[in-house]
Amino acid sequence: MLLFRAFILGCKSLLLHPMRSLLTVLGIFIGVASVIWLLAIGEGISVEAQRQIESLGADNIMIRSIKPPDEASSGMRDVKAYGITRAEMDMLQSIPTISLMIPIRELPMKFTYNGNPNITPVDGRLVGCTADYAATNRLEVDDPARSHFLTQIETESSANVCVIAANLAKRLFPSEDPIKKQLYVSEKKLYFEIVGVLKHRDPTAAIGGSLAAQDFSLDVYIPISTMRKRLSDEERKSGTGSFSRQIFELSQVTAKVNSVDNVRMTAALIEDSLKANDPDRQDIAVVVPYELIEQSRATKMMYMLFLGLIAAISLVVGGIGIMNIMLATVTERTREIGIRRALGAKRGDIIRQFLVETVVLSVIGGITGILIGLSCPLVIYYARDLLAWSSPRAYASLPDVAKKMTPIIVGYSVPLAFFISVAVGVIFGIYPAIRAAQMDPIEALRHE
């Protein structure tokens, strides 16, 4: 009852200066809303990043070939081969925890279609792989009745076939059906018969320096055996005034492990066996998405910590606002404090009175902050739409994560924000309240 009366009294006192109270509430409101927003956005970004990493497959290990720095291979006559070799891949096949291995060789190429002589060559990626590549990278063909990904038989027989990605199909065959057409690789003077068109697939994220983002949208997949037969391990590029040569057998081997629990151990084994002869070997990198997932959890913690810090700063600023106002209020209401003391208020009563006021202010700020905080996903959604509609160019330049990310309200952020707002009220209210209580009642009564 007493506390309720104190609450009513607090509200009345605050309503004496509605504008002032409103502005004070605003400080806390912004702080609390930003706590929820930042946590929600942080969570959204990290979930999106994790999803992209997970799309690489948690039970996969990737062994990438890394092109040595240019200085090392500048002697044009004597270019050394780099990266993982077919022999090494066969050797790794003996590791019992590896259930499947996919050799991959990627080359940048220009593609055209003979039936359309006017078409400008499209820059894409020629990927030599096996039938299992589709499953591991979650690639699906667009029309399963008429098209298919590379089959085991095609791979083993080095068939002259290819499967093209959705975007490439759209650009090369704007008005025709690509199936059974001949894709032409002008640099190598090679034709491949198109047997399948893929559905669109979201790009994967780039991870560290070891794994570039994969776009998949302009890929042409051919059997790796065909690639070996038609294009040698040596890759020459000549342009005006420049010439480059590189030799590598495979650009990546993806190893599928039989269980997620064995991923780490297997990765260590692969690394050890590949580096058995040369511990300082620089031309390969073993990338473990599972580890990256773990890593992203740590990054997420960092994210949260950093964003939390920003929110904390804004709350402190809001709290200082409260303190400032309350100090002014205490001075302004010195007379009232004197009257109350004369009528029997103890120091504790005065402290409580002013504390109730600050807590009421901060709780109102907290509750409105929480409400606005909860609207974060909606606001982000519409803000993005608005941006995409009003200036598409600015929208296009947004990082991919920002385009895709959906803010996720973190469950604990609501009680946390509420608790913080009360705490700010108490912490920043206590000093003005004590100052009010410490006043000499005689002096206070005389105050004009």
């Binding site: 009852m1 007493l2 009366r5 009294l9 009345k12 006192s13 309503l15 004496l16 007379r335 009232e336 004197g338 009257i339 109350r340 003391r341 004369a342 009528l343 029997g344 208020a345 103890k346 120091r347 504790g348 009563d349 009642p441 005689i442 009564l445």
Partner: protein, 287 residues
């Protein structure tokens, strides 16, 4: 040096016995005391200099008394008022309020005493602006923790007693000076104090309103309430039963007035009823 000290001690002893005698005598009369002050001294330190504001004041106020404390500025009037109101502690001496020596109490205990035993009326009314009339009257009960339907009923009855029954939910700013002072008087009575302490209660009022307020105070005194009033106006003091004059921190004179001015006729009068409202009816309702 030693002689002087011994003489001082003897003096103190004599004074103490004297006080004892005085107290006995009042007891013998069968009068209950609202307040009793014994050799009250108060020193201030102002800019390194000790100012002796009260140099030993002794008097007692029986229940039902109406005392006016007078004196020029600098006589220690305000200091005495602060001590009587338990807003301050004396340097030495005793202040007995219902058998408790207030002089030795802690800050919180003094607050408790102010909340339960003293009713303040100030020159500038000192109502709390954000509260209504009833809520203002209720404040001392709030600090006793006795808030509820009963306190609201009591405050309403008191508002009616002072003639503001139709302005219960007005704010102080919506009231005239006289009305505000009536609220303050009602507030000073809400906790059934040992005495009402009025500090220049009519100082801010015009002569007509002053008459109203003084009539109200007289009426309350007639009903048995103890009044201690600090004033510098002879006109106001003329209504008290007893006048204590202070000068330079000591009591100059302490006289009972055989004849005093009255607004309220001894046996009730229609005019008085009009001035202060029908307080008896309210008092009966109050129980």
């Amino acid at each position: 040096m030693v002689v002087a000290a011994v003489r001082q001690a003897a003096d103190n002893l004599i004074t103490a016995f004297g006080d004892l005698d005085k107290r006995k005598s009042t007891r013998a009369l069968g009068m209950k005391l609202a307040a009793e002050i014994v050799d009250l001294k108060k020193d201030y330190v102002l800019k390194g200099e000790t100012v002796r504001a009260l140099r030993g004041v002794t008097f007692s106020v029986p229940e039902g008394d109406y005392v006016a404390i007078m004196g020029p500025s600098g006589s220690g009037k305000s200091t005495l008022l602060n001590l009587l109101g338990c807003l301050d502690r004396p340097t030495s001496g005793m202040f007995l309020l219902g058998g408790d020596d207030v002089a030795q109490m802690t800050d919180d205990q003094l607050s408790e005493i102010r909340a339960t035993r003293i009713g303040f009326v100030f020159q500038s009314y000192n109502l709390i602006p954000q509260l209504t009339v009833v809520e203002n009257i209720e404040v001392p009960l709030y600090y006793q923790g006795k808030i509820g339907a009963e306190s609201r009923r009591r405050s309403t009855a008191l508002a009616q007693l002072v003639g503001l029954g139709d302005r219960l939910s007005h704010r102080p700013t919506q009231l005239s000076g006289g009305q505000q002072q009536r609220v303050a008087i009602a507030r000073s009575l809400v906790n059934e104090p040992y005495f009402m302490l009025a500090d220049e209660a009519t100082g801010n009022l015009d002569s007509v309103t002053t008459a109203e307020i003084l009539a109200l105070i007289e009426r309350l005194n007639d009903e048995g309430r103890t009044i201690i009033m600090v004033t510098h106006e002879d006109e106001v003091a003329a209504h008290a039963k007893r006048i204590i004059k202070l000068r330079d921190g000591v009591i100059q004179s302490d006289v009972r007035q055989p004849i005093r001015k009255r607004y309220v006729p001894e046996n009730g009068h229609a005019n008085a009823e009009k001035l202060i409202g029908n307080s008896n009816a309210v008092a009966a309702q109050e129980g």
